[in-house]
Symmetry: C2
Amino acid sequence: MTYCIAIKLDAGLVFLSDSRTNAGLDQINSFRKMMIYEKTDDRFMTLLSAGNLSISQSVRELLQTMSIRDDTSDKVLTIWNAESMFDAARVLGAAVRHIYERDGVALKRAGVDFNVSMLFGGQIRGESMRLFQVYSAGNFIESTCETPYFQIGESKYGKPVLDRVLIPGLPLDEAAKCALVSMDSTLKSNLSVGLPLDLAVYAADSFNCDKVVCIDEGNPYFNMLRSNWGERLRAVFDSIEDPQWFGGNSSVPLVMDKPSPIKKITSPKEKLM
Amino acid sequence: MTYCIAIKLDAGLVFLSDSRTNAGLDQINSFRKMMIYEKTDDRFMTLLSAGNLSISQSVRELLQTMSIRDDTSDKVLTIWNAESMFDAARVLGAAVRHIYERDGVALKRAGVDFNVSMLFGGQIRGESMRLFQVYSAGNFIESTCETPYFQIGESKYGKPVLDRVLIPGLPLDEAAKCALVSMDSTLKSNLSVGLPLDLAVYAADSFNCDKVVCIDEGNPYFNMLRSNWGERLRAVFDSIEDPQWFGGNSSVPLVMDKPSPIKKITSPKEKLM
């Protein structure tokens, strides 16, 4: 399994990935799921991948040299000369389709789904930052300000905190913190998501990125965050009043006058509702 | 979709269910997923169900009158005369199998999986409380003190808080609060889980239960809990230091000396790792 998050804010982009892959519970390895493509002062792109590792590695290998002929301008497009992230995402989609053509039939014969999903975001000089989620069919969707983040892999455990905190105006470091909290919840609940993590934080219009860090068991910040988040969450839980049945002396009673419509069955002959 | 939680503590049992069912996003209805079977001073049992509604309703209807012949004692067992919750769970499993025999072929012909999962817990005089999770095949597992809760349906969003808080020694009202927080996270992230909720809290050795409540949009306690939890979670988030890159003046730097192994690709000719 895998868990990756990519966030697009006014201030920049945040990418976070775990590094665990597993083929069954007894075959667990560490592979990096983040790849950065950079041409200083011209373009910065980051790719995060989930799904079948042989497919995602093949796509990543191909993406460096992949070219497509644009059907309207007849230009040859690569991720290195594309004038928009949208065109770069089209090149990535084409790479996914190319690997499908190469491996799809043999995988199907072996009973393996062609399963890959990717997050691809960045900025090319001349336009704003953009963020895409690319599916197994090579099609993709783009993040908008209403939906400032995408997740791939084991996404559910870590989603509540993202939904509560992320807005486009959030400062970059707060968004990085939010991504790390989301990852912590996922690490706690799913054994097949694991350290080390890779975190990249890109500031808008910088066209390169020096904030790239590998976070392992010894990282002081992540350890502080994990223990503080757990403790303080528990303190918040304790700070909320327990339910007072039938009013008690609480201003917020759990039970009011309204009877529960739950049917109690008290003998085998009684009819259900 | 559905979200149900059942918790077994030293002090008693907590059951919580939502009431939304959907067949596609444009066909959303409210059905109760909780059923209480009670014989005062003798037995208290609660059933929560998820999966195909026609199956779970058929199982619930049948469970009231279902009997099985015990293969060792040759006694006829029902949920009303079983001497253990384990035997009552066997009756429930038999009811699931009976409905499979009745409907399984026709459902398969229509391309519908025989999909049902249930939580069944309670206490029969003469033994301690017990809690079971029953699967589509009618087989089941029992909760132990290491795993004091079961979830069915949309379980992932609400799991982190359960894992952080639930221990067998927790007071009943705190466990009810924990279940409600878990439900709140799920309601926030999945549209197909919805109000009203049904909550039942059973105190050990009482053999009946008057703490049964239907929680709708107007419930003061649940509204207080939702708004306080959201606000205070956000305050905890804000209270944790933002990452300080390259040390800064933080005692817990995000980046230390160790370089990141993430490969940056800077031209199309470069080889990947």
